[in-house]
Structures are given as C-alpha cells and as structure tokens.
Symmetry: C2
C-alpha cells in the first residue's frame, strides 16, 4: 500500500469506530434506560481513546510526511486535487491532535466534566462565585492548548481555528462591528412593527402526532431523505450523522405551540441536508466531511429563517397546518407571520429572535477574547457582562443565571465557538441572496413549495465541496464575497419593510 | 498485573466492544434507516474482527495457561471459587475460538450469509432443490468445525456443546424419547379438551397503545426493571443485553389479537429477567454471563407458559384487559383460558402450542443428527422429514416451505441449536414445580399477581449462579434432578385435567 492508501484506510477505520460511537451517543440521548448511563459513558470513553490512538499513531505522521514529500499524483487531475485536499486536512488534524500532550488532553476532559457539573449547580442557584474557580481552570487549560497549537497574533485565534478553520479574530471583528452598528438603530423599529399582535394567538392544542406528521411533510418537502435518516424526540434537539447514509434529527414538542418543534426540525433538517449532501463515496475522508461550524450553521439557519419564516413558505403551508389542526383558532396569515417573526430583546440567547440573537453573540465574542487574553479577570466577568449587555439590549440583567452563567459552552472548554453562530446567520443570508440571483425562477419555486432548485444550488455550492475550500473561499466561490453583514441587514430590512 | 488480572481486563474490553456491537445490531432491527444497512453491516463486521482478535491473541492463551498452572488464590474462598470458574470458562471459549482455522471461520461467515439469502428465496418458492447445495456446504463446514473442536462419541456433540455446554446427544436421546412416548397418546385428548371454543372469540380491535400499556404493566409486575431496559417494536421479537443495566425486548403487534404480543413480551421478559438477574458486578466475565440456551429458554417459557397461560394469572389480569379494551366482546374467562391454551397440530414450529411444539423439536433433533453423521443424504431430506412428520403429527406435509424449509437455523450453520428449545420447555416445568414445592405460599402469591417470590427464587437458583455450574448441575441444585420429562408431563396433565 502507498502512504496515501494507508492514510485513507486509517481514516475510514477511524470513521467506522467514530460513527459507532455516534450511534451510542444518539442512543444515549434518545432511548437509553437511565441505569445504563454509567456503562455507556465507559463505552464512549473507550471509543474516544481508541480513535485518538488510531489518529495520532506515529505511522500516521510518517505517512502524511511521505505524502507531502511526494504528493500522490493520479492520471485524473480531479482525483489528484482531492488527494491534495485530504493530505492537507490530515496534516491539520494530526498536528492539532498531536501537539497537545496527553496530560493536557486528559486534564481538559476531567476538568470540563467537573466544570459542567459545577456550572449546572451554579446556574440553578445563580451563584457565579461557585463557578468562577472552574472557569479560571478552564481558561488556564485553553491558554495552554493555544500555546501548544501556536498562533500568529493572539491565543484566541488558535481556539477559533478548532471551530472555524482559517477564521481570525482580527477579520471577524470589523464584520461583527459593522453588523452591530447597523443592527442597533434598526431593532426598535423591528420591535415596533412586530409587537402589534398578541402572542397568545399562536397558542392552541396541537397533539404531538399532528406535529410529527407536519414536521415530516415539511422536512421531506425540503428534500430530507427519510430512507437515509429519521426524526426522534430528545430534551435538547440535535442533528447527528451516524454513517454515510444515516442522518438523525431530534426535536421536542410543545403541545401548546406547534411552531417550536417545526422550526426546530427545519433547523436540524438544514444541518441534515448538508450531511446528506456530502459525497458519500468519500465518507470518512476530509473530502466527504463538512468544512466548519459557520458553514454548517448557515445551512440550518437558511432553512429555518430565510425559508421557514418567510411569507412564501406560509402561503403554502398555513393551509396544511389548519388542515392538520382543525380545532385551532388560527389567526389570519399576516398576523401569524408577524408572530413567528417577533423581535424582542430577551436575556436568554437560545430564546432570542433572529435579529437580536447576534447581539448575544457579539457580547460573548468580545468577552471571551478578553478572558483568554487576561484583559478581563474572571471575578470581574459578571459586572462586565451586565454592563455590556445593558448597553447592547437596553435592559438590565436581573441575575447571573440569566447573565454570564446561562450557556454551557465555557464550562465545556468550548471557547471560540460562539462566533460561528453569527457567521452562520450572515452566511445564510448571503447564500440565500446569491441563490435568488443565480437560480432562475427561485422565488416562484419557493412560493410553490418547490425546494429542489434551492437544494440543488446548495448541494453544488456548499455540500459537495466538503472540505475542499476554506469557509471563506467557499463563500467567495458561492456568493462572490467573503462573509459580510450587508446581505443579512438587507434581508432584515426587506422582510420587515423598514 | 497478574495473568488473572490481565484476563479479566481483556474480558471486560471484549465485553465493552461486544456490547457496543449489540447496540448497533439492536438499532439495525429497530430504527436504522434502510439505506444505512450496508454501512452497518460493515461496522458489525469490523467489530466481529476486533473482538475475535482480542479474544484469540496468543497472550490470552499464555495467561490462561499461567492461571491453570498457578490457580489464583484469594483470602476469600468464594472469590477463589469464582476465579476458578472464570479460568475454566475462558479456557473453554479460547479453545473453541482458536481451534478453528481463520479460513474456516471466514468460509462459514461467507457461506451462511449466502445460504441465508438462498434459503429465503427457496422457502418463498418452496423449492428445496435450490437450497440443497447450500445445506450440503453448510454440513461440510460444520463437520469440519466438529473435527477441529473434537468430540468423544459423535461429531454432533461438538456442535451441541456450542449451545448447551456439557449436553451430549446420548444423554438427550432417552429424555426426548420418554417425552415423545408420553406425549403422543396425550395429544388427541388435549386437542379434544381445547377444541370446544370458537377461536374467533379471541379476536377484536386492540389498538397498539392499549397493548403497549398492558404489556408494560405485566412486564413490570413480573419484575422487569424499565430503568434498566425497554420494549421496542420489530418484525422478529427478541431480547438483547446491551450492557450490565441495559436489557431490551422487542415485540410486534396484531391489532386483532392482543395475546400474540402479550405472550411474546412475557416470553422475552423472561429472558430479560435472567439477564437483569445476572450479577452486574461480574459483567463481561463468565461469572456474570448466562450458562446455556436451554437454561435461558427455561426462563422465557416459564414466564410465558407456566405463569402467563395459567388460570391464576388470568383471574387477575383478565379484568385489566377488559378495562383497557372496553369495546372487546370478551368471552367468559374459562373460554378465554381454553383459547390461549388450544392444542392443535400445525406444520409450522413457531406457531405451535406448548405441547405439540416438542414434537417439532424431536423431529429436527433426529434429522440433524443423521444429516451431520451422513446417515441421511441432503437429497433425501424432504422425504425423510415428511414421513417422520406424518408419523409424529398424523397430518401430511403439504410442501417443503411448510416442511423442511421452514426454519432459518440450518441456513445459518446453527446445527445443534434446536434441542435447547425442548430442554427449555422441560426445564421450565421442572423449575416451576420445584419453586411450588420450595416457596411457601407461592400458589396464592401467583393468584394475587405477586411475582416477587417466584422471581426471588429464580434469582437465587438460576440467575445469580451465572456460569458457575453446568446446566445439568444447575438443574440438580435447583430441583434435585437433571432435566427430565416428568414434570412437564405432570404439568400438562394437571393443566388440562386429563
């Protein structure tokens, strides 16, 4: 076997065990009996160790080096290009995995597990002081990680790289600043436009079976392949790939409000369509894998927001909803549309509307950079959070549970993750605008609930390239520009007519 | 680490991967999207290879040898005894796994997979000639296996050993002959007693949700722990252990007849109670594992038949059934009881009542011994089957699909498996009789639907010993005798009052 063949075989072996572990995780979230949790954790730990050993073995480094010294050339130029992508990405992954001493990996695993427990308790008691020492430890460990990985400008970049390859704080800062500058004056107007209807009009009795039928119809209409995927019920909705033709979504149901599970399913199905659109023949290789969280999130948000919260979408589906829930005292379509697009500042990120959501991210992006650099001390975090929150949202923070203790990310050591949510929002608007420009008749297709042309465009521009291009290159190739705030702002203005 | 510690660690590692593979198999039967089947098969193949390599590595042989040369002695005599059991069983498993050349293992895997496909087609067309060459190959391979494993008297014993450790054809033959001798004259009388009521009286409309509620209540009353297990829906019902506290049953529903899924669940829950009753602290070791199929089957049959088809059971549960299905035109209790205990010869083993069922097994036991020894040629199988079937059941065989092609076992290479079904039947009756003798007040407990005393007795006598004793010793310790036909015959006579 050539070194390239060995790498390919190893990657597929790792994917095979990794996807088995994903089945175990999926089962843990969906169907696992409660007493079986401890053993499942042991199984998952064993798999993590196995795949880590397989990925970081010295021979892998040798094979990569050999491929770099003598790049695998094929008669087919396309195949040669794909191999170069794989070698580049294997190098990136190998370096990130092997540059950390195993002592640091284990300490992070142990600390984040304990920090998560401490965070759950601290949040429930709104007791920041109880979480502060854990956050201090986590910050120490991520700073160490960043030093091991290396960076050009700031340690934060080394962390960000783990979620959004190629992204740098210095590049995101002006984009986010531009977004904030334009968004802030607009919010009071959006809030006013959408406050006309009583939110109680959305409520009714929506049996779970009816919601499941609706969600399934919508996901199938979007193009989600139920012969290669399914929807189950969990407390925290997610989308996970368990193999090349096995993509599973989850949702939860509110029997008083069908829109919560429907938009949840459209969001997860957006992730799922990306997963189902990756080239299955390259499963397990970088050329069969998604490129970044910011691109993944663009797919979920595009389907949830640009499609799902649009008037064309509801012109078609509102009739169907009323058929499925005939007893619901449904408001007129225009009022319903306003209700699912209501803009209103809230303390909690995960409850935010699509406009104010980004201010939550800007706040976190600013603060986590300062925490990593040491400019902001952990003890000063609540005060800094509260002051900046009030500046951005014009409402005070009542307590830390609804302030700097609300998210699980930092407790898990996931610092540098938050910006990818807003990257996803901006990418979604920018991709949707490009699709409208490039796909003839797309607008009328959307009115007719024909989503195949939109999906076809996303398949070609985003899904099938997998990891071939960096997120920025991918956006440039698809839309002509790197990620900017302008399309999202234009989208909001057009949507609300302001 | 001592050799014993190494063996224990290896066994737990194998159990961890093996149970992960069981999760993958369970998921394949319950929730896997259709297009994901091919990749799942690849995953399962990889796991089979991994666990086989771990179990048959040369160091395992060295560790076992070291433990045999210097048995691990502990201060605690009980612990010393348990270690001796583990070493004995590891030796047995290691020898069985390593005595087969890998060429033979692979050929059996490949052949049985193809033979199974051929069998499905042959059965659907009732075309024995199409299956005959595959059966010929399978017989060749199992004969080779038997030669590798070795045996004292006949090759068939080496196969039987894989399902029922210590069982020998020469010991089973007189037990089965005694059973047949007593059963045959009794059958016409049982048939007559139970033919008084029209089977259509059993039918009605039984929504799945109601059946699920009933099944769950009954399984919980039996003692099945739903915090350490669950029930799902599959085409072919089964019970599988996915970890020390994770036992999953499956069933299927007939909306016209609730008894089919109820007895199915009682049967699988009987297996499940055995699994949940094994000592979890020894999970992955022989001292935490079930001893044989004949013992396993005794647990499922005892709960399904001795408990579930008894009058005391229905005196309690019939009221509940009528509450759950108020629209059913329920026959009187005594008629209902006759209907779920109807005796009637049928061509199909899996549809047989608990009395005639054993004749199906006696037929297969006789025939498969002759096939393995070569006394019966494959081409002569249909004629031999049909002649013997008519002798045993007094009805002719209409075609091979309802004759020698009906079961999947031979196609899978599982020769020597069938006798464990009747061993299970006999063991169930013998254990139940012993429990009635040994547990004070058990009969009134059963009338009161209090199953804890029965389960407690089974836990002590059968479940917790795990692999400590051979199946025969286990039966002797629990009942005072090895497996015999007498208790089962007494049970039938008492039940039907003949």
């Amino acid at each position: 076997m050539t070194p390239y063949d060995s790498l390919q075989q190893r990657a597929r072996e790792i994917a095979l065990y990794g996807s088995a572990a994903s089945v175990l995780s999926w089962d843990q979230e969906t169907y696992l009996p409660s007493k079986a949790n401890a053993y499942r954790a042991e199984q998952l730990g064993q798999f993590a160790g196995l795949t880590h050993r397989l990925a970081t073995a010295p021979e892998v480094g040798d094979w990569i080096k050999a491929c770099e010294d003598h790049p695998p050339i094929c008669a087919d130029a396309e195949e040669t290009a794909l191999r170069a992508v794989n070698v580049r990405e294997w190098r990136r992954d190998y370096d990130r995995a092997t540059k950390l001493p195993s002592r640091l990996v284990e300490e992070m695993a142990r600390t984040s597990s304990l920090a998560r427990e401490a965070w759950i308790k601290a949040r429930s008691e709104s007791n920041f002081a109880a979480f502060a020492p854990w956050l201090e430890k986590i910050l120490g460990l991520v700073r160490e990680q960043a030093e091991c990985w290396g960076y050009a400008t700031c340690a934060y970049d080394a962390l960000l790289e783990g979620y959004e390859p190629g992204a740098r704080a210095a590049d995101l800062t002006p984009v986010f600043a531009d977004l904030q500058r334009q968004l802030t004056p607009l919010l009071p107007r959006l809030q006013k436009v959408t406050s006309a209807v009583d939110p109680a009009r959305l409520r009714g009795n929506f049996p779970v079976a009816g919601q499941q039928a609706l969600n399934r119809e919508v996901a199938a209409a979007m193009g989600f392949d139920f012969d290669a995927g399914r929807i189950d019920t969990t407390v925290h909705p997610f989308c996970t790939g368990l193999g090349p033709r096995d993509c599973r979504l989850t949702t939860r149901y509110d029997e008083k409000d069908f829109t919560s599970s429907l938009f949840g399913v459209m969001h997860e199905a957006g992730h799922g369509l990306y997963s189902q659109g990756l080239p299955t023949e390259h499963y397990g290789l970088p050329t069969g894998d998604s490129i970044s969280l910011g691109i993944h999130e663009s797919q979920s948000r595009l389907w949830e927001n640009q499609v799902g919260r649009s008037l064309p979408f509801w012109r078609h589906w509102y009739t169907r909803v009323k058929e499925i829930f005939p007893e619901w005292d449904a408001p007129p379509l225009d009022e319903f549309w306003l209700l699912v697009n209501r803009v209103k500042p809230t303390h909690i990120r995960v409850e935010a509307d699509e406009a104010t959501y980004n201010l939550h991210i800007i706040l976190r992006f600013e603060i986590e950079q300062k925490l990593v650099s040491g400019e902001l001390a952990v003890t000063d975090l609540p005060a800094a959070w509260n002051a900046r929150f009030e500046q951005l949202f014009q409402i005070p923070v009542p307590d830390d549970a609804r302030g700097c203790l609300q998210d699980t990310h930092w407790a898990l050591g996931a610092i540098g993750y938050f910006p990818t949510y807003t990257l996803g929002t901006l990418n979604a608007a920018q991709l949707f605008a490009a699709a409208l420009r490039q796909v003839p008749g797309l607008e009328s297709d959307l009115f007719a609930a024909n989503y195949a042309p939109l999906l076809g465009w996303l398949r070609e521009k985003i899904h099938r390239p997998a990891k071939r291009y960096s997120p920025t290159e991918l956006m440039e190739r698809a839309t002509g520009e790197p990620t900017r705030a302008v399309c999202f702002m234009d989208y909001l203005k057009a949507k609300y007519g302001v």
